[in-house]
């Protein structure tokens, strides 16, 4: 048991940490939960569950450290342990398939460079959201953490329990997959994507 875990907060301190440091992140937490589960009720349960756990284990939270990262870690673990197994999506299979594919070589930098910044900026509808949702859960997660929530690689490594090098490469692969999907939308919207083959 570390020193941190042995500390006991008073009832008042607990309330103040919970209201002052945990609750302000509820919008981000719900957004994350919804993008993991794609279901309002599941997302609600997941967020509620996370906050209950956060309160139960509040003594292992060190005041002044990053509460948001701490909460995201609990949420992500709850999702893996409870929600993922009952959800219908075959996340693991998808993930391995793409990871093997993208590990096969130096990652396909070239094939994604023909998407243009202008066409991305012109996507005013749900294209980007749909593209994100279409990614396998592990890829979706790193993009949510990095780009939507602004976590650093180090924070992401802690949230996901993976080395920083894995964060970097998974994020890079995730972005390439996202760009492939966006390129598909850009083409169907009639943008010139400088496509020469395909």
């Amino acid at each position: 048991m570390s020193e941190v875990q042995r500390r006991k907060y008073s009832q008042e301190e607990k309330t103040s940490i919970f209201d002052g440091e945990f609750m302000p992140h509820i919008d981000s937490m719900y957004n994350f939960a919804f993008r993991l589960t794609f279901d309002e009720d599941d997302a609600k349960d997941l967020v509620q569950d996370t906050y209950m756990k956060a309160f139960r284990f509040i003594n292992s939270f060190e005041q002044g450290t990053n509460a948001k990262a701490w909460l995201f870690r609990i949420l992500k673990n709850s999702f893996i342990n409870e929600y993922r197994k009952k959800s219908k999506q075959p996340a693991k299979v998808d993930y391995q398939e793409v990871e093997t594919f993208y590990n096969s070589d130096d990652v396909d930098y070239q094939s994604t460079t023909d998407l243009r910044a202008e066409s991305v900026k012109d996507m005013l509808g749900d294209e980007i959201s749909n593209a994100l949702n279409a990614l396998a859960v592990d890829f979706r997660t790193v993009i949510i953490l990095a780009d939507l929530e602004g976590f650093t690689y180090e924070e992401m490594a802690k949230i996901l329990d993976i080395p920083i090098g894995t964060v970097r490469s998974r994020l890079h692969r995730a972005r390439n997959l996202l760009k492939d999907k966006l390129k598909g939308y850009a083409q169907s919207m009639g943008y010139n994507t400088d496509e020469e083959e395909e």
């Binding site: 919970f18 509620q48 209950m52 309160f55 130096d106 900026k121 780009d147 972005r175 996202l178």
Partner: protein, 90 residues
């Protein structure tokens, strides 16, 4: 496609190490390199057209993600019900 066309000013049209450069640009965009990153970025973008384009594409994607994918409306009573649950266990 080679270098007959210098429409992009003085930037070279082929990047000699796309793999390394793009990974570096992404780290800079992710804020992982701090001040050092800003100088490196300036150099890259001045000299290399593929890096320039990749950077702007990546930046656009991050902006669109941030504006389009962070607004899932919170269910009305969720915050209250969490506070109530915490109050009850206390």
């Amino acid at each position: 496609m080679e270098n007959n066309n210098l429409s992009s000013g003085e930037r070279k049209l082929q990047c000699s190490d796309v793999s390394k450069c793009f990974q570096l640009l992404e780290s800079i965009l992710d804020g992982e390199l701090g001040e050092e990153g800003k100088d490196l970025l300036k150099q890259k973008l001045e000299k290399c057209q593929p890096c320039f384009e990749h950077f702007h594409l990546e930046q656009a994607i991050r902006e669109v993600l941030k504006t389009k994918c962070t607004k899932q409306p919170l269910p009305e009573k969720l915050a209250d019900s969490i506070r109530q649950m915490i109050h009850d266990v206390r």
